[in-house]
Symmetry: C2
Subunit: 129 residues, 2 copies
DNA sequence: AACTAAGCTAACGTTAACGTCAACTAGGAG
DNA sequence: CTCCTAGTTGACGTTAACGTTAGCTTAGTT
């Protein structure tokens, strides 16, 4: 019943308004994997799975994280902890990321307040001439 | 009555745990200005004014903005609009930045939720062996 | 058959944001 | 006076994240 959703590289690229080169680069550094290539044409093809992964990557970028940091967060999503040690290591990592994110949210809210303040200052300012 | 607060470059650097080179670089690209140099020794000196500016710059960086974007936002704080046209241009810029920031906050909150979800998933997972 | 569009690999180019290093100077400590 | 520390100006080096170009293949069109 699964819809046969396969995308070419340029289709996937235009979905997110990025270049094909960017997608190949993400694969190059192991952040994205293409389905097993058609062994004849060597063309990459993507499914919704990769589309979601790419979406996560781009969200991370918009938030100011490096590709390396994003990779670690995605690994978090996909990791399957073997043993209690790894499990708690993962949970610790998640907690530290959560703290970081909450701090970032706070800072953004402060920045927002600052800009609002200055904006209002201008709005109430009589302009010369 | 103003306290005589003058900092050397390395003092200012260590306040924020950055290098002197970074501060010189910010001056190089015109994001930071040092007080009129001692014309003899050519040494830079900074006041609380520059300290605040630097703090804003570093906050912007932590939030993922480029130095160029940060410069524009700081210009916003310091601009003194000449004429109605510029005034409304500035207000429009502020509004667009505010939208961007609010969007970013939303995305961060979603990311936070995602990580929380995955974290709980792991916490409730029995680990093999 | 000839052409065009889309994809591929390999490799070099580019920009932002500094790091690093060399060669110099000014100000104290001993 | 000598040495050490901290500062200065170039200028070249570095890394992440792609952009760009060349040379090749395959698939579909006229």
């Amino acid at each position: 019943m699964a819809k046969e959703n396969f995308f070419t590289i340029s289709e996937l690229a235009s979905m997110f308004d990025i270049s094909s080169r960017t997608i190949r680069y993400y694969e190059e550094i192991g952040m994205l994997t293409s389905e097993s290539r058609e062994s004849l044409t060597m063309q990459r093809s993507y499914t919704n799975r990769e589309r979601r992964r790419l979406k996560m990557i781009l969200r991370g970028k918009k938030l100011g994280f490096s590709l390396q940091e994003i990779r670690e967060m995605i690994d978090l999503y996909e990791s399957n902890p073997e043993g209690e040690a790894e499990k708690s290591r993962i949970i610790e990592f998640a907690d530290s990321k959560l703290k970081e994110i909450e701090e970032q949210i706070m800072q953004l809210q402060m920045l927002r307040e600052d800009i609002l303040t200055y904006k209002e200052k201008y709005e109430n300012t009589r302009v010369k001439a």
